[in-house]
């Protein structure tokens, strides 16, 4: 078997590693709200964000809500987590993946009318990859696979 002095050394190493893991684990747990990248529309509706502060909101682009101006880059759409909706106004270039039914993360502020004035809009895709043919076949079979880049309740 292992010599006693070696076993002692191994014990000390394991003790240090375990202690540090617990310390770092607790720190991350305490910080967990700040580590989240964005708030959901429900969190915004519940007033978790202070008025006038800069923050990020993450949700789906509601079907039929995109109103793109023809003469400028201004766009208005609604983001939703299927519980609450938040209208967003943005002027700028949208990522290629931006479309209705797509996940987005927008950065900006809520104005007094409750409209989110975005300075940036990013696309968030989910973890499911498939060819257009497979997607079409699934839709035809009625098993329309929802694109869901957000977990059931992002605030948990």
């Amino acid at each position: 078997m292992m010599k006693p002095h070696r076993r002692k050394r191994l014990g000390i190493i394991l003790f240090i590693a375990a202690g540090l893991s617990v310390a770092i684990g607790l720190t991350l747990f305490a910080l967990s709200q700040n580590i989240n990248m964005f708030y959901s529309p429900t969190a915004v509706a519940n007033g978790e964000v202070e008025a006038g502060t800069m923050f990020r909101i993450g949700g789906m682009v509601k079907d039929g809500s995109v109103d793109q101006r023809q003469d400028s880059l201004a766009v208005r759409f609604v983001t939703t987590d299927y519980v609450h909706d938040v209208p967003i106004e943005y002027e700028g270039i949208l990522p290629d993946l931006f479309r209705e039914g797509q996940g987005i993360v927008a950065e900006g502020r809520l104005d007094s009318a409750g409209v989110f004035q975005a300075s940036r809009v990013l696309a968030k895709h989910d973890e499911n990859y498939m060819s257009p043919e497979v997607r079409a076949a699934m839709e035809q079979a009625g098993a329309s696979p929802e694109n869901h880049p957000f977990r059931e309740s992002p605030e948990d």
Binding site: M1, M37, M130
Partner: protein, 251 residues
């Protein structure tokens, strides 16, 4: 009693390692070339395009393989470090020392391929608020830290012990990287579950090429680490008789 630990102590002999790897290397090189060719050709020519991301998703094959392999460095260095601390085995430290720069390169490649991919599909190269991205950047810096720590301490044995401890502690960050996408809201997607059924989301037509590439990348990692360690063995053991005989033979 002695027999049970014999294999372990033989592992600690640089000469044994050098001779064994001389025989293994051609096979490893061959396997790596094969897997790398198959993986790349498959990813670039035969992988179906994604319904949302189109051809952009091909980078997944490289990104996932490199990212996965980059997570293996801290556990590897930690095990080697523990062996160094407990048994004072020189070979373990030589492996650990050469793993650090290699790991830094792997982390860099992960960040670079991820950035390129993100710039196209997310619309951003980098997000400081995404915990997956930041924890991976932290791993890159931590590996640079291990390299610097080694360089900063003059005494080889003290340096080995300090790096071993840092490597063991650094393993915690690997867990954070892995679960960051589950614990917090991120722009980065969670890991894709694989499906065994052809023609379903994440079916074999998508993931087999990635698995081939993961094997290729791990073979590349192994070959690189062996070559670097062999170099180090020759340097550190240059006074040993077998190394001098080897040098005479080569001449």
């Amino acid at each position: 009693m002695a027999g049970r630990w014999q294999w372990f102590h033989r592992l600690g002999s640089p000469k044994w390692f050098y001779e064994k790897t001389t025989r293994w290397l051609p096979w490893l090189w061959g396997a790596m070339a094969l897997f790398l060719t198959v993986g790349l050709v498959w990813a670039l020519l035969f992988l179906p395009e994604d319904y949302q991301q189109g051809h952009t998703s091909r980078i997944l094959v490289v990104h996932v393989a490199v990212a996965g392999a980059s997570l293996s460095f801290f556990p590897l260095m930690a095990v080697a470090g523990a062996v160094t601390l407990v048994w004072r085995m020189k070979l373990a430290d030589m492996v650990a020392r050469n793993a650090a720069p290699l790991g830094a390169w792997f982390s860099f490649l992960t960040l670079a391929t991820g950035s390129i991919w993100g710039s196209v599909s997310w619309g951003t190269w980098w997000e400081w608020t995404d915990s997956r991205l930041v924890s991976m950047l932290f791993q890159f810096f931590l590996l640079l830290g291990v390299i610097s720590l080694r360089a900063a301490i003059e005494n080889t044995e003290t340096a080995a012990r300090a790096c071993a401890l840092l490597s063991i502690v650094g393993c915690i960050n690997v867990v954070v990287i892995k679960y960051s996408v589950d614990w917090w809201n991120t722009l980065h997607q969670p890991s894709s579950p694989i499906s065994m059924e052809v023609g379903s989301p994440n079916g074999p037509e998508f993931w087999v090429a990635t698995v081939v590439m993961i094997v290729a990348v791990y073979l590349f990692l192994t070959v690189s680490l062996i070559l670097a360690t062999r170099n180090e063995i020759l340097q550190r053991e240059s006074k040993a008789r077998w190394v001098r005989e080897l040098a005479l033979e080569a001449r």
